[in-house]
């Protein structure tokens, strides 16, 4: 992607976040620069605890960054809070509401926006088969498997139609088969609607298969270690994962990730 900087949907510059003070002080992320172009699919990998979710919370307007950084959204400077309601955000946990049926969990965002319940339900109902949830509309979350709950959370996120989607390990809880299907489906939706996506994953193959760019974060305090363009043509067939281009990117990423994972383990050692 060669978009000029002005055409980024979101641009983070020098974003840091520190938790607590004194002896318990944790610098979660430290001076992160990251941009996502309009219509771009960026995947983000990094060792556990490096601050990926923290970064998402800031980009969604849920948490303030430390003073000094800058957030530009749609070309304009924003204080974090302005982003509330403007970014479609899927947290790591499914966070379904146990008292709502599947269909009513799916329409939560639409309801908050003020859409009539019947209209919202009709829209959600149409998406159920695509997500493998047909026939489960009237179930309650506790009657679903972990993977199904995650898919309900995905529908909820997709129905909240915003230009930028932040997906925090959306396929982490799915089995390999469903996961592959959901990846294809996500690429399809993304290509049809041209939304911009920032996507956290722990799976390097997934990161390469989905992304226009793969961004690797360092161990805590999280910084950007590597930013690799994935120059594989789309649509990408399943066997792209065995192509030379794919493997070259993968080996570069694995080296970087291993180095950072080792750091986070030695850090945990004392």
């Amino acid at each position: 992607m060669t978009d000029p900087a002005s055409d980024a949907i979101i641009e983070l510059a020098g974003i840091s976040r520190t938790f607590g003070g004194g002896a318990g002080r944790v610098v979660a992320i430290d001076g992160v620069d990251l941009r996502v172009g309009r219509g771009e699919f960026v995947t983000l990998v990094g060792p556990s605890g490096c601050g990926k979710s923290t970064l998402f919370n800031i980009a969604a307007g849920l948490a303030d960054a430390d003073p000094g950084g800058e957030i530009r959204f749609g070309g304009q400077r924003h204080a974090g809070r302005d982003l509330l309601g403007r970014v479609s955000f899927m947290p790591q946990r499914d966070l379904l509401l146990p008292w709502r049926r599947v269909i009513d969990n799916a329409i939560l965002a639409l309801e908050v926006e003020g859409m009539r319940r019947a209209d919202a339900r009709a829209r959600a109902l149409a998406m159920m088969p695509e997500f493998g949830l047909a026939g489960f509309e009237r179930h309650y979350p506790h009657q679903l498997s972990g993977g199904m709950r995650q898919r309900v959370a995905l529908i909820r996120t997709f129905l909240f139609e915003r230009d930028l989607m932040l997906l925090d390990e959306p396929f982490g809880a799915l089995d390999a088969l469903t996961r592959t299907m959901m990846q294809r489906w996500l690429l399809d939706v993304w290509q049809r609607h041209r939304r911009s996506i920032l996507f956290i994953t722990h799976d390097v193959d997934e990161a390469i298969f989905l992304g226009d760019r793969v961004v690797v974060m360092t161990a805590r305090p999280g910084r950007i270690k590597l930013d690799v363009a994935v120059d594989l043509p789309r649509p990408r067939p399943a066997h792209v994962a065995t192509s030379a281009g794919f493997l070259r990117i993968k080996s570069a990423l694995l080296d970087a990730i291993e180095e950072e994972s080792m750091k986070s383990f030695t850090m945990a050692g004392h």
């Binding site: 509401l97 146990p98 939560l108 926006e113």
Partner: protein, 250 residues
Amino acid sequence: MTPGRILALQTATILACLALWEGAARIWGGPYSVMPSVSAVLADMVANHAALARGILRTLTETVLGFAAGAAFGFLAGAAFAQFRLLERLLLPLLVVSQTVPVIAFGALVVIWFGNGILSKVVIAFYLTFFPVTVNTLRGLMSVDPQRVDLMRSFGASAWTLFWRLRLPFALPAIMASLLLGVSLSLVGAIVGEWFGDTVGLGIMLVQAMYAENMPRLWSVVVACGVLGAGLYGILAAIERRFVWWGREL
């Protein structure tokens, strides 16, 4: 085991206990001893059914009014405390202190203030009900998972939407638990309130039976109180099972 068979077994157990009681009372007891027989109690209930019905109706009215007022006030207070934490700091300690005074201690005061009619009993029932409801409403509203709050905020939810769509449903199981406790306390409040003087009600019937040493009467009123308490509790428990079942899922 099917629910039907369990119910049959439970009924059989109760009947067996009653039969045992009847037998024991006939062998060892006389009409004015410690334990009247089941049949004597039943006979008294039948003979005295009009007064008993009036007493039940009166005590039920006091209980329900006091409970409703206490539940409403408790909910509003708890919700206000959750919204305005300063208010909680200022007022909750006062409410706690008020609850450390046993209700009997100022029952007489309440009767002087609110008269010897139904109002004073309602006030005592209210006094016993509102506190657990306040505390549980506050606790329930405050225990909402912050990540769920964040999710709703990311959709652009207002404080109002957050309250109705997230906080309140989240708090309902805790509120419901306090209502179950509150309805039992409310009945206690109504009965005890009548002891400070009145002419109708189960509480006053208990006192009268005690002074008359009328054992079958005492027992028939005790049974009426039990039926009333179990009935009110049962209704609320059924509502909870049907409408507020997600407490374990939170």
